[in-house]
């Protein structure tokens, strides 16, 4: 099944196909034996169970890794925001990619991520069951209505409303927000660990005489400082009231320093402040 979360790239036809397939899956649940069948007492628990199961599976597959820095490199992680993480570039995981100490830290972080994802899964379960319960409660008259396409679309709208409400109620909880942040931080730490500690990267950098990341950052800091100084000087020059040209003012008064070389005098004239 296509899932737009698997790729956040522009693929409207794929995204549409995925959503349509899920819509058919939902119709399948809506038409479970007993769910609205004429003459029989509806078995709401079966419907709720089926909906919750499908929904939970979708949530897990689509969001298991948290929104920012997915643990796509972690073994067994869900598809989640994998495409986004992949854009961070290849991560040099694997034997020999890092010294043993660094590798240990990386695997500790991977284990931490797996643990956090386990905690996240319990929230998905909570959301899925709550949404299914809300839906069953609100179905009311719609359950006995004649099965038409418009009716099915209305049921779908109701289902989405229930799903969003349950989702919103859970993801606003403080503990959920903290968990999301922990996941993102652990993923970022893993990424950083792998980049920083990569023997492969350092070897390549040295072999080609390239500056390291830290060296480039230091150069940027120097450049920024120079830019700031230049901006300050420009600002000061702009704010300063126009001065009489010292060379002209001094002419005839015998005040021009005799020691100033001619070239300097020319350049000073050329740099006369613009009025």
């Amino acid at each position: 099944m296509q899932n737009p979360f698997m790729s956040t790239a522009f693929k409207p036809d794929l995204a549409f196909t995925g959503a349509a397939e899920r819509f058919f899956e939902l119709l399948k649940s809506f038409s479970l034996p007993g769910a609205g069948a004429a003459g029989a007492a509806p078995d709401w628990s079966a419907l709720a169970g089926s909906l919750a199961g499908q929904f939970e599976q979708w949530l897990k597959s689509s969001q298991s890794a948290g929104p920012w820095f997915t643990a796509a490199s972690a073994p067994g992680s869900g598809a989640g925001f994998g495409a986004a993480a992949a854009s961070f570039g290849p991560l040099p995981l694997g034997a020999g990619a890092a010294p043993q100490q660094d590798a240990q830290r990386s695997w500790d972080l991977v284990a931490r991520l797996a643990q956090l994802q386990g905690q996240l899964a319990s929230y998905w379960s909570e959301i899925a069951h709550d949404a299914a319960q809300r839906f069953v409660t609100r179905m009311g008259a719609a359950a006995g209505a004649a099965p038409t396409l418009d009716g099915a679309l209305k049921l779908y709208e109701l289902w989405v409303n229930c799903a969003e409400e349950s989702y919103a109620a859970t993801v606003r909880k403080e503990e959920f927000c903290r968990l999301q942040a922990q996941l993102a931080n652990a993923s970022a730490a893993l990424l950083d660990e792998q980049r920083r500690g990569s023997v492969r990267e350092l070897r390549l950098v040295r072999a080609f005489g390239l500056p390291s990341r830290n060296e480039v950052d230091a150069l940027y800091a120097q450049l920024k400082e120079l830019r700031t100084q230049l901006a300050d000087l420009t600002e000061a020059r702009r704010a300063k009231p126009p001065q009489p040209d010292r060379a002209t003012a001094g002419r005839g008064a015998g005040k021009r320093p005799a020691s100033a070389p001619a070239r300097d005098r020319r350049s000073r004239r050329a740099r006369k402040p613009r009025a």
């Binding site: 899932n3 737009p4 979360f5 956040t8 790239a9 522009f10 409207p12 036809d13 794929l14 995204a15 549409f16 196909t17 995925g18 959503a19 349509a20 397939e21 899920r22 819509f23 058919f24 399948k28 038409s31 689509s62 969001q63 929104p67 920012w68 820095f69 925001f81 986004a84 854009s87 961070f88 099965p147 038409t148 396409l149 099915a152 679309l153 779908y156 709208e157 989405v160 799903a163 989702y167 919103a168 993801v171 606003r172 403080e174 927000c177 903290r178 999301q180 942040a181 993102a184 931080n185 970022a188 730490a189 990424l191 950083d192 980049r195 920083r196 940027y220 920024k224 830019r227 700031t228």
Partner: protein, 364 residues
């Protein structure tokens, strides 16, 4: 690509009566979506007039109809649009009947727009001071010098509105009128889910991890309402009332939504920390380039338009601006639409430009 197949065997008898119709609609919509895939975006002619790093300043060319008033136009104060760093600005000029830019040009305004471009690894240390003082500031200075004027009107959109507020507070004389669209000022309103999610992010790690790809931010925004934004909007295409033109509008928006530039690591880390985590703008503790950003220093007229159904910038986050500014000429207005609807919906396309144009005309 594998073909779409509907397994309708589960819907027996009367319950399955609509399945053939539904299957046809799916196939038809899919075919039309594929046809519409290559729709063009952006409709008004513009030329690059200045650039710095990856940032390009564009000047829109006057519309033929508006060119009749050319002398009046050239005398008018220029309007600079400062869009968010996290999305592309062409959404403001998406198509002729949904273009804020076109409406502004049509009103005879002289319009400039900042495109921040795609920061790469060489730009990962760009910080907010760079963006505000050198990129936005560079654009402002270029316009003022090239037009021989002492001030311009500034229109900031979303995060670009935040940058515009900072710039206006720091350079009061250069901005005559300020217009903000869906611009947050108070980042800690209780309904701000995005703020809650990033409150405990380790921004030092974010800074070290390098630029954040646009797809990651997209994922974050979609996760705010995943069922509506990744499922329902596609299923609604099956409702049967979307003609090809409506479908093309839909695809244009899709193209824009999924076309997000990467974010310079340091600037993003600073934005998350200073604004989302520490709420410095409204607390008066924000400093850019060593200078305090004091919203009370903004004394020029301000028009603040925000969306009442905004899930990214809640209305309260934006409406809070009123009590922080020093301006005695503040106009705040909530529009009954969502965040993206402000720029791209039919309602937004009608109402927003009209409000901006009439407000600016009253403040020559």
């Amino acid at each position: 690509m594998r073909p779409f197949t509907a397994d309708a065997s589960f819907l027996a008898g009367a319950a399955g009566a609509f399945v053939p119709e539904l299957t046809l609609r799916v196939a038809d919509t899919l075919a039309r979506l594929r046809q519409a895939r290559d729709v063009t975006v952006g409709c008004s002619a513009k030329r690059a007039v200045w650039s710095f790093g990856k940032t390009t300043l564009y000047e829109y060319l006057p519309l033929r109809e508006a060119a009749r008033d050319a002398p009046q136009r050239s005398a008018a104060r220029p309007l600079l649009i400062c869009f968010a760093l996290v999305n592309r600005p062409y959404v403001l000029d998406l198509q002729p009947d949904r273009s804020l830019v076109r409406r502004l040009l049509d009103a005879g305004l002289s319009v400039y727009l900042i495109d921040w471009g795609d920061p790469d690894d060489a730009d990962r240390c760009l910080d907010l001071e760079d963006y505000v003082e050198r990129h936005l500031g560079g654009c402002v200075r270029h316009i003022l010098v090239s037009r021989g004027t002492s001030s311009l009107d500034l229109l900031g959109v979303c995060q670009g509105g935040v940058l515009s507020l900072c710039y206006t507070a720091l350079h009061r004389r250069e901005v005559a009128n300020l217009v903000t669209l869906t611009t947050p000022v108070d980042f800690h309103t209780p309904d701000n889910l995005l703020s809650k999610w990033v409150r405990e992010l380790d921004t030092e790690l974010l800074r070290q991890s390098g630029n954040v790809p646009g797809e990651a931010l997209n994922g974050l925004f979609l996760a705010l309402m995943p069922f509506r934004l990744t499922q329902q909007k596609y299923v609604r295409l099956l409702a049967g009332n979307s003609d090809q033109r409506a479908l093309e509008d839909f695809v244009r928006m899709e193209r824009w939504i999924f076309d997000s530039p990467p974010q310079a690591a340091v600037a993003l880390a600073e934005f998350v920390r200073w604004f989302y985590q520490e709420n410095r703008l409204i607390r008066g503790t924000l400093r850019i380039g060593g200078k305090r950003v004091d919203l009370a220093a903004i004394v020029q007229p301000v028009l603040n338009l925000y969306a009442l159904g905004d899930h990214i910038v809640p209305p309260a986050a934006s409406a809070a601006m009123e009590r922080c500014l020093g301006s005695r000429d503040y106009t705040g207005c909530g529009i009954d639409t969502g965040h993206i609807g402000m720029y791209a919906s039919r309602k937004g396309a009608d109402e927003i430009p009209s409000r901006i144009i009439s407000w600016l005309r009253e403040r020559p």
